[in-house]
Amino acid sequence: MVINNKHPSENFGSNSFSSELMPSDELIVDLDGFEGPMDLLLSLSRTQKLDLMKISILQLAEQYLDFVEKARSLKIELAADYLVMAAWLAFLKSRLLLPPGLDENEPTGEELAAHLAFQLERLQAMRDAAAKLMARDQLGRDFFARGNEEKVEKIKRIKYEASLLDLIQAYARTKTKDEFRPFVMDRDDVYTIEQALERMRGLIGYTIGWIDISTFLPDGWTSSAGRVRAATASTFAATLELAKNGDLELRQSDSFEPIQFRSKGTNK
């Protein structure tokens, strides 16, 4: 049996075997030439000189086990997958030789053998297909593309789009972008009655005697005439409200004289 394959496998490099170590022997094993146990099995099956569909799997299993045994006796270190295959084939062999087991769920030896035969046939078929494929006319070897390709000129035009609506919305956005208040009146110079009421309610309990409204304006509201007017009006309106509730009294000595208020609580 001579097995020698000149194409080293790219996947199988773990064998420490080198043929130089061997004395001349009828068995020359170059495991590096095989791409794993299936490849080896396929090579072995060819020695049966039979159609792949008709090979004896039992015989093949024996051939493989024999091969592994010889490799062992020659102290060739076999990779794990070769040993796994050997174990499996030994199992298969026993299955094929022994009468079928009672467990019907267990595959029979014939079924297992048939599957292995199928796998081998399929691998061989793929090898044949690969050979046929590579034997086809190939571009750049048997037929040729245009040598002087003409480049398609790509003209890219960018068209920018913006509608009037985009424009208007953009403008509205820029004009209103800070803490958007949809058309709320700017209140910088407006002192509301609510503000005045709140302030008055808080302070009135601490007042003693009559107080001029004009001297009771909030801080920062006497800087301009407009602000003074707004604050005065609101504060006055607030005093009216509080007077109505009976919280304070109002008086004015004459027309256009200062308006004064005092807390009703201070009287008690």
Partner: protein, 219 residues
């Protein structure tokens, strides 16, 4: 005997003219450069005379989409020159104008003539050179007169093309903020159900303000 003679012929005589045409055709097609007569002869089987084949091919291709042309003393197959338009692929990519560009354009339209500094003040961010360039490229804005103020900054104004594009007769046709609001064109509309009497008052004030604003604009 005749059979034998024929065989000898095919071995030692040049291929027939049809076959020669095929060969010349294939050589010219696959070559990356125009090919000299000499080179064609060198590559054809012995005894070929490509001049004839070239002449025939030239005639055959005359009305086709590919032409055989002589370039100096070389020959080449070329696409017919009247079909060169097929070799261009024009793609139009429609892009939305960036937010920055639209805002800048809007400010120029509403405030023209306006300086860059003023645009920046309104937008609150600096205006990039690219934005202005793009708007100029689109012929939507132009450089207006210089402002009579320190540094004499240039101003920007919108163009006739802008008006055409946006379907406006004049910049004065641009709607004011008040109209925008009533048309519902403003983002973040006030929350619904907020029309209590107090707010009504506010609404009146607002009218006043937007009028003021309009006046500002026309300055």
């Amino acid at each position: 005997m005749i059979e034998e003679e024929k065989l000898t012929e095919s071995l030692f005589e040049a291929p027939n003219i049809d076959q020669q045409e095929r060969m010349v055709e294939a050589i010219l097609f696959a070559s990356s450069k125009p090919v000299t007569i000499k080179e064609i002869i060198g590559r054809l089987p012995y005894g070929c005379e490509p001049e004839k084949a070239l002449k025939n091919l030239k005639e055959k291709y005359k009305s086709r989409g590919i032409n055989l042309v002589k370039v100096g003393d070389c020959w080449a197959l070329r696409t017919a020159s009247d079909l060169s338009f097929l070799m261009q692929k024009e793609t139009v990519e429609v892009r939305k104008l960036s937010r920055a560009a639209v805002e800048t354009l809007a400010i120029i339209a509403y405030h023209q003539p306006v300086t860059r500094a003023e645009i920046e003040e309104i937008r609150g961010v600096s205006v990039s050179r690219g934005t202005i360039d793009l708007l100029m490229d689109l012929d939507w804005i132009k450089i207006g007169r210089r402002r009579v103020s320190p540094g004499r900054p240039v101003t920007f104004a919108i163009t006739q093309n802008f008006l055409d594009h946006f379907g406006l007769e004049s910049a004065r046709d641009l709607p004011g903020l008040k109209e925008l609001k009533s048309a519902g064109l403003l983002e973040s509309p006030p929350p619904p159900g907020s029309s209590v009497p107090g707010e009504l008052l506010e609404g009146e004030g607002e009218d006043l303000q937007s009028e003021l604003f309009n006046e500002e604009k026309t300055i």
